[in-house]
């Protein structure tokens, strides 16, 4: 299967400053690919390379079978792009902006755009400058989706959307996938990608350190748990559970880190009186560190 995106040793330096280094990646048709990494890791650099807004220092990107620079207009006709913190013409209304971008894309009818806008409950008749951050984000989402592109490139797409609208957005992405479109979306939060991605790539300090199916990644995901018990509990019992680390027990409070499934941990806790249970997702940086430690132990 011809990949929709292929990166071959794609490298970008800004002067001497690192952008991304030796990225090798293939993203296949109909796939939702989550591009995960902390801020400053090189996610936006990668995306801007795909759109030909910046040019690689070496290596190359192949998008929809073409070169982003040489075949730019042809490719971008079939690409929907949502920038991170997107800049829009503040004096235009949503409708005016979409009309303008629609014409640049050779689609004079606003029908499809209006449909997406309605689903996101977006008022298209107000000047964009008067809209809240969330509503501006919706305008940006609509312009990325309105021409039913074969490839969607979305940089931190749900930033600023409230949870309800995030859910609607995930539905839109799921529909795009069901129609065979490919989605490449970046995020710095695992839980966001977790909900919709088939595969995940993790980028750290400009390098792609892991590309994995979501299930495998989840199996390694770290969570920090706090369990409040009605009385004292024996630390050893929990420390002995597989995949449970850093167990600390103080009075009735147990804090630990769990790798992958928390099934056994919850079942073990259930034998005591549980008054409260809090699960915190480990942040990405921690996930990376653990991931490497884990790999080191196995070797």
């Amino acid at each position: 299967m011809e990949p929709v995106i292929r990166l071959e040793a794609l490298t970008k330096f800004y002067g001497r400053q690192r952008g991304v280094v030796d990225l090798d990646l293939e993203v296949y048709p109909g796939e939702v690919f989550g591009y995960l990494g902390p801020n400053g890791a090189g996610k936006t650099t990668t995306i801007r390379l795909l759109l030909d807004l910046i040019r690689p220092t070496r290596g190359r990107a192949v998008v929809l079978g073409g070169d982003p620079r040489a075949d730019g207009p042809r490719l971008r006709r079939e690409v929907g792009y949502l920038a991170g913190d997107p800049a829009l013409y503040r004096k235009m209304t949503g409708r005016q902006l979409l009309t303008y971008l629609g014409h640049l894309r050779g689609m004079p009818s606003l029908g499809p755009a209006e449909e997406v806008a309605a689903r996101l409950e977006l008022d298209l008749d107000r000047p964009i400058g008067d809209l809240s951050r969330g509503n501006r984000q919706k305008v940006a989402v609509v312009q990325a989706l309105m021409h039913s592109p074969r490839l969607l490139v979305l940089d931190e797409p749900t930033a600023g959307l409230d949870p309800l609208m995030q859910r609607e957005f995930y539905r839109l992405v799921a529909e795009a996938k069901a129609e065979g479109r490919t989605v490449f979306l970046s995020s710095h939060v695992l839980s966001e990608v977790e909900r919709i991605a088939d595969r995940v790539g993790i980028v750290r300090e400009g390098r792609l350190v892991v590309v994995e199916g979501l299930e495998e990644l989840k199996a390694k995901a770290l969570r920090r748990l706090e369990i409040h018990f009605g009385g004292p509990v024996p630390r050893e019992e929990f420390a002995a559970l597989p995949g449970v680390q850093d167990v600390v027990v103080e009075d009735g409070l147990l804090i630990c880190t769990a790798v992958g499934s928390i099934d056994r941990l919850v079942k073990a806790a259930a034998r005591y009186e549980v008054t409260n249970l809090a699960v915190h997702e480990a942040d990405l940086e921690e996930l990376f560190l653990r991931y490497y430690e884990g790999a080191g132990d196995a070797a």
Binding site: L53, G72, A83, P86, L88, G106
Partner: protein, 268 residues
């Protein structure tokens, strides 16, 4: 209007364009109203100016025919020697700096270039919009001059007025294009405007001080202003060779800007 980069560029400046057009109109009627008074005292003025040293006369571009006693002479000195080209330059330079660098700094250039359109095309349409908008102000200015001329009995030849306004628009476009190109090269709007402003001022000074300062005389023809002012188009009509130089400058600078824009990274 919102069907192309060209249309959107004009659309987004529709209010400012209206102000420029209205303002130039009002200014010219006001200027025209001063003409009858000046004409009455023209003889006195001319005696005074005849006593000016040659260098000083050159500084104010007082070529043969410069006189407050005639409409064309009055407009040549009061309007075309400095004020009108300056106004048009300010407009065109602002337009040019915003066209690429301004949009890049705002981030909206990313949005436009994520559509199926080449950078060259975006630049070409922005350039065309700048040319059309500057000419629009020129045309309105021209009409206002002719109205003022008829109202205050200036004895103007419409062809000469059109020629002089055309030359002023051209010199404005030289600097407008420079500002556009510097924006293409650096992506920085403030820098594009600042550097262009300095270059325009230098061009004017080189031309007007050339008679007084020896070494400036030798480089006078390197100043674009020379190709605007030396032929005094209000009094003598267009010098086509000079028009050619200005047009060539516009084209060369625009192409240079385009070549860099094609190759460089856009700022986030």
């Amino acid at each position: 209007m919102l069907r192309s980069v060209f249309g959107a560029a004009l659309w987004s400046r529709r209010r400012s364009l209206a102000w420029w057009v209205g303002g130039s109109f009002a200014y010219l009627l006001f200027l025209g109203s001063a003409f009858p008074t000046l004409r009455e005292n023209a003889a006195e003025w001319e005696r005074m100016m005849d006593n000016y040293p040659e260098a000083l006369r050159a500084m104010f571009n007082m070529v043969e025919g410069s006189s407050f006693g005639t409409g064309p002479g009055f407009l040549h000195m009061e309007l075309f020697s400095f004020v009108l080209p300056l106004l048009l330059i300010v407009f065109a330079v602002g337009f040019g700096a915003r066209a690429i660098a301004g949009e890049e700094e705002e981030g909206t250039l990313d949005l436009v270039l994520s559509a199926p359109i080449t950078r060259r095309r975006v630049l070409a349409e922005q350039f065309a919009a700048m040319v059309v908008a500057t000419f629009l102000i020129g045309v309105v200015t021209c009409v206002a001059i002719l109205i003022a001329g008829a109202g205050f009995d200036m004895g103007l030849v419409p062809g000469r007025v059109a020629a002089a306004v055309f030359a002023a628009v051209l010199i404005a476009l030289v600097f407008g294009t420079l500002s556009l190109a510097l924006g293409c090269i650096t992506g920085r709007r403030g820098l594009a405007m600042g550097v262009t402003g300095a270059v325009a001022l230098a061009a004017y000074l080189v031309f007007s001080l050339a008679e007084m300062v020896g070494w400036l005389g030798t480089i006078q023809k390197a100043s674009p202003w020379y190709y605007y002012a030396a032929s005094a188009p209000m009094l003598r009509g267009l010098e086509w060779a000079h028009v050619g130089v200005l047009v060539a400058l516009v084209v060369a600078v625009a192409v240079a800007g385009g070549l860099v824009l094609e190759r460089r990274d856009l700022a986030v």
